[in-house]
Symmetry: C2
Subunit: 662 residues, 2 copies
């Protein structure tokens, strides 16, 4: 592991060229006494010295020194920046300190990607007001759905603050993240006490470190706090005693944690307490907290992941996919303006392929933000390579038809559609205290990528991938192309060897790695494929569960008709015979066989592509990733053979190409 205890991820710059000269810095309208500005200058110094080998010295007065000029310009949008290079140096203009920080990181990124100082040029401001990371870290140090070691925030019910904390904040600042929820949405045990004196000092310290890189700290909240830590007998959001308890509690919290952004709440979900217990709506619960937080400028982020998780598999009327819309749509418009609903990208749960949640844009008068998961819960546990930015791009580009223009998910969650300010994107993060932060070194592309994409949803998957590669590795162009190509195809490859055409699940129960075709078929989780000897898929049309009707007309009609439904989602919306002819002319069953053989073969291609980079990647890092590919190949083979065998045994239809199926 060398001498350091963790890597510097994409901030471990490599020398790109010898510099044009030394640097001095000039501030106009900003003060280097501000921690954010001061950190921006520090990052510039650290970065430029590594990138160009030149000295950066604020007090350099030599005639030849280039100037980094940081200037206040109130015409620049909040958190935005304008950077421009010339033969005298580089000017950063911004209207606020975050803009300065982001502008400096943008300079470093451009230079790392090969630009000379004189060529630096960009005007940018964030697509989304909120750009957040959600940690599912528990205070015992474990991480729910974590595949990168233990928490670096918590251990044995204590908060950890060390050099790693600051590095983490730097990483977040460098990719434009402005909010972080440090604790798991499932708030239990010690985590319920994060809003008590037991932890205030350390949480405050964390919030200060974050703040110095432009990041607001948020806490996940236990909705049952009035009972669990307050000693009340209720947490009914309309109960005056409960409201009064929250008023006192939040006053105390903001006295001690003035930098707190607000609360994230998972209520009435998978066994968590919530307003439904008291016959109240989700809006009653969220608004009560919103009212209480209002005086302090705090916000409530309320998750929409509410469904019946004790379904009877025999029940084909109930449809988990419907639940979010059914529960939240009726109160559209009733939510406080400091409440924002956080909606998962799909109606199920972060499968490799799902339709976009009909709540996104379906809510027309409610603040909303998009939740995605870069922790690879269902997408390979950071063992299998799965660059998720293409998936997120598809979601963002989806036309909801909620308006005649500005109707994409990107429009909706940025606030462009409704003109609202409380909007954005959040990711369940994939980090832990592993040496490389993300288990698989290549999984950091998702960490980096989510930050960059949430800052600028117009960036392409490839642009983001190339930025990350250039910042992280030191590869000649042809090797960069190989790695970029690996990333860009990895999601499609994972999809090919796992569950077919949008049906999802088929994973090992609980663990969610590796195949178990019937693993969730006879369960209480609402997760069924309904395969029999003739066909497979869930009828969610107007003749089935009616889920397709939750979309606006254009989409509803598209999804309702198996001929118009995008084939990659065919089994999500329709029960289809194995003999059904796809647009390729292949039968459904042959498609299942072919895609699984292809996916496994292409996974082997990924592994052999990685081998081509051996000479250009530090040995330890190369070997770490290579070991992951070995595991991925075993996984891909298991998926291929179990899925193919399952459907061959069930349908009795042979593979046209006569390949081995068991």
């Amino acid at each position: 592991m060398g001498t350091t205890k963790w890597t510097q991820l994409w901030l471990d710059y490599h020398e790109v060229y010898k510099g044009e000269g030394s640097w001095k810095t000039v501030l106009t309208g900003f003060s280097d006494e501000s921690p954010i500005v001061s950190n921006a200058l520090l990052e510039f110094k650290r970065g430029m010295e590594k990138l160009t080998g030149e000295q950066v010295n604020g007090s350099d007065n030599s005639e030849n020194a280039l100037t980094l000029e940081i200037t206040k310009n109130d015409a620049i949008p909040a958190e935005g920046y304008h950077i421009s290079g010339s033969d005298k140096g580089i000017v950063v203009e911004a209207s606020d300190e975050r803009g300065v920080l982001y502008g400096v990181f943008a300079i470093l990124r451009q230079i790392a990607c090969g630009k000379r100082a004189i060529e630096v040029s960009e005007s940018a401001s964030p697509s989304n007001p909120l750009r957040m990371m959600n940690h599912w870290d528990n205070m015992d140090g474990s991480i729910e759905r974590g595949y990168s070691g233990q928490s670096f925030f918590f251990e044995n019910d204590e908060i950890i603050i060390d050099d790693r904390t600051r590095d983490y904040a730097r990483f977040m600042g460098s990719i434009g993240i402005n909010g972080v929820v440090i604790n798991n949405v499932n708030v239990k045990s010690a985590a319920s006490y994060l809003i008590t004196d037991r932890y205030f000092d350390k949480v405050a310290k964390l919030s200060e470190i974050f703040n110095e890189y432009g990041v607001k700290l948020f806490l996940s909240l236990n909705f049952a706090s009035p009972i669990e830590i307050g000693g009340l007998d209720s947490c009914d959001p309309l109960d005056k005693k409960v409201i009064s308890w929250w008023e006192n509690k939040v006053k105390e919290v903001y006295d001690r944690l003035p930098l707190l952004g607000g609360f994230l709440v998972k209520a009435d979900s998978e066994g968590r307490p919530g307003p439904f217990t008291y016959g109240r709506t989700q809006a009653d619960g969220a608004n009560m907290l919103g009212d209480v937080l209002k005086p302090y400028g705090g916000i409530v982020i309320w998750r929409c992941f509410v469904y019946n998780c004790t379904q009877d598999w025999r029940d084909t009327k109930t449809d988990r996919a419907r639940a979010g819309y059914d529960y939240f749509k009726p109160q559209d418009g009733a939510y406080n303006d400091n409440v924002v609903l956080q909606i998962k990208n799909g109606p199920m749960d972060f499968q490799i392929r799902e339709p976009v949640s009909p709540l996104l844009g379906g809510l027309q008068h409610t603040n909303q933000m998009l939740e995605v998961q870069i922790a690879q819960e269902y997408t390979g546990h950071q063992i299998d390579l799965c660059y998720l930015i293409p998936l997120f791009k598809e979601v963002l580009d989806f036309h909801t038809h909620c308006a005649s223009e500005k109707d994409t998910v990107a429009d909706v969650v940025s606030g462009r559609t409704m003109g609202n300010k409380l909007a954005g994107m959040a990711a369940v993060i994939n980090t832990g205290n592993d040496f490389n932060w993300t288990g698989n070194d290549l999984a950091a592309a998702n960490t980096y990528g989510f930050g960059r994409l949430s800052f600028d949803t117009d960036l392409s998957s490839e642009e983001i991938a190339r930025e990350w590669i250039r910042l992280t590795f030191n590869l000649p162009k042809e090797k960069e192309d190989i790695l970029c190509n690996m990333l860009l195809h990895s999601r499609e490859i994972y999809e090919k060897y796992s569950s077919p055409l949008g049906i999802g699940w088929m994973v090992t129960p609980n663990d969610h790695y590796g195949p178990s075709v019937d693993g969730y078929e006879y369960s209480r989780w609402g997760t069924y494929h309904r395969a029999d000897h003739l066909g497979i898929g869930v009828d969610r049309t107007d003749k089935g569960t009616g889920y397709a009707q939750q979309y606006y007309k254009e989409n509803a009609e598209m999804y309702n008709d198996p001929q118009k439904c995008p084939e990659e989602l065919l089994l999500f919306f329709h029960h289809i015979p194995y003999t059904w002819k796809l647009k390729t002319g292949k039968s459904l069953i042959q498609h299942i066989y072919d895609s699984h053989f292809e996916g496994e073969e292409q996974a082997r291609g990924l592994a052999s592509d990685w081998d081509k980079l051996k000479d250009n990647i530090p040995e330890e890092q190369f070997d770490r990733v290579k070991h992951r590919f070995d595991l991925q190949l075993a996984n891909a083979r298991e998926w291929r053979d179990q899925v193919n065998s399952y459907f061959f045994r069930k349908s009795g239809i042979a593979d046209e190409k006569g390949r081995t199926i068991y």
Copy 2:
């Protein structure tokens, strides 16, 4: 839970009649200074006072007092007894102290079952030399496959000795158990140190308490002890350093634990260390320990549960069922005379229906004992009612054809076939520190039943059930018939609603409660049903894995032919089309549907039969069991519907009776 912390199980006698008079006791050839004899007298006093309300007083000299006369008679076989009542009292003759103890318990049993003192009469001696219980208790207090609470032997890596210990020993003595292994066969962590100074004093104390009820204490051994606690770099059984280490260790052990019976060893199984690691045979391992134990009269019980637990499901040549015979048969005759092989009843793992292991009797020159499991790992977790004595009887009555006479399993494991002394039966026990010892009160019928059956393999399932009912409850005859009937049919009912015709498995992985038809189908455990759209079952004939050929000719021919194979084992030995006609005239698929509907219906019958006993069972106890039946019904329904749906979806063949299948 009342005022006591645990029940007295079948020793909580009820008054059967007012006695004929008070009792005095006379010893001839035995001394009441012997703890066993003294306990026998104590049990007689305690029992008779509760059963008849009469005083039992050793020094009673009144003319009318009846006499319990205990007399040494060397003509009685070891551990046997002769009891006979007259108008003067009852005489117990025995050649040893265990015989006295067992004779006294036999008197109490007969009186509890309604006999007058004058009617008491029995000559008995144990069918099996070894009659053992195996605890799978871990030293952290957990019990592997335990469904009755935590261990009452261990907690937090310490040994518990309290009143419960003595009661446990009494229960064991009362049913003729003469050996108990207190710790799990998977010996890890602190349990490896049971043979060190850290625990000697308490183990010695336990062994004394056991001994006072005729029970020898045994320990499960970690075969890797020379490495784990000895600091050697090997546990190769042929390595002189290793042998020397064991010699010293065993000397130390017997210095400190003179009452120790010996060791139980699970080697080379499911990740446990063993001789295979060093290229040695199982015999090499067992004999090394046998040699070392010989000077102390200790024995080695060596488990035969050795198989490849990392099988590839695609591999249809390897057959877990073959493994025991393949591994152990070649060394038949090579085992020391103080080594006994402990063989599970079936070749797989305690399924609700398996053929008898071909090792039983297949070994012709090796000490062997039968292992069964009364912990209901695969048979309902002591939630579902499953009286297992009928299953054990089938195993004992099975003709192995290893000899022209005395060829049943009962003959083989009793030593009758080969004339050997080291032989017998062992059960993985179903107890824990629950108030009622066995989770489900009715599961104690298996605890009691195993003891009685291992003492006298000629007892019928019904005789044992009635004894247990009369000792445990206080029911009028018609209610006793109901309960007896429930017990006697419960295994058949469980079999009907779970996996069909001997195929086994189909349980939730790891947990082993409830259905998951494909749960073990694509796994590494060698546990497959190979169902496709046309049929189901594993071909273990001479054209398949050849497992059937491990039996003697008569059985091999029977199992090899689907027409001759007992239908309850059809799918264990053959891959059979769903359309195959069974002897009932039903197709295989219709049998699957019918038996599952029937099984669920009959489970409801069990629950409603229990309700009929409401007025005759103490309320707390009645409710405890009733709650279990509620859970059993949910389980039976889940089994019924998942199995039927699975096969309907796979075969496409409808139920002839048009019942609901999902």
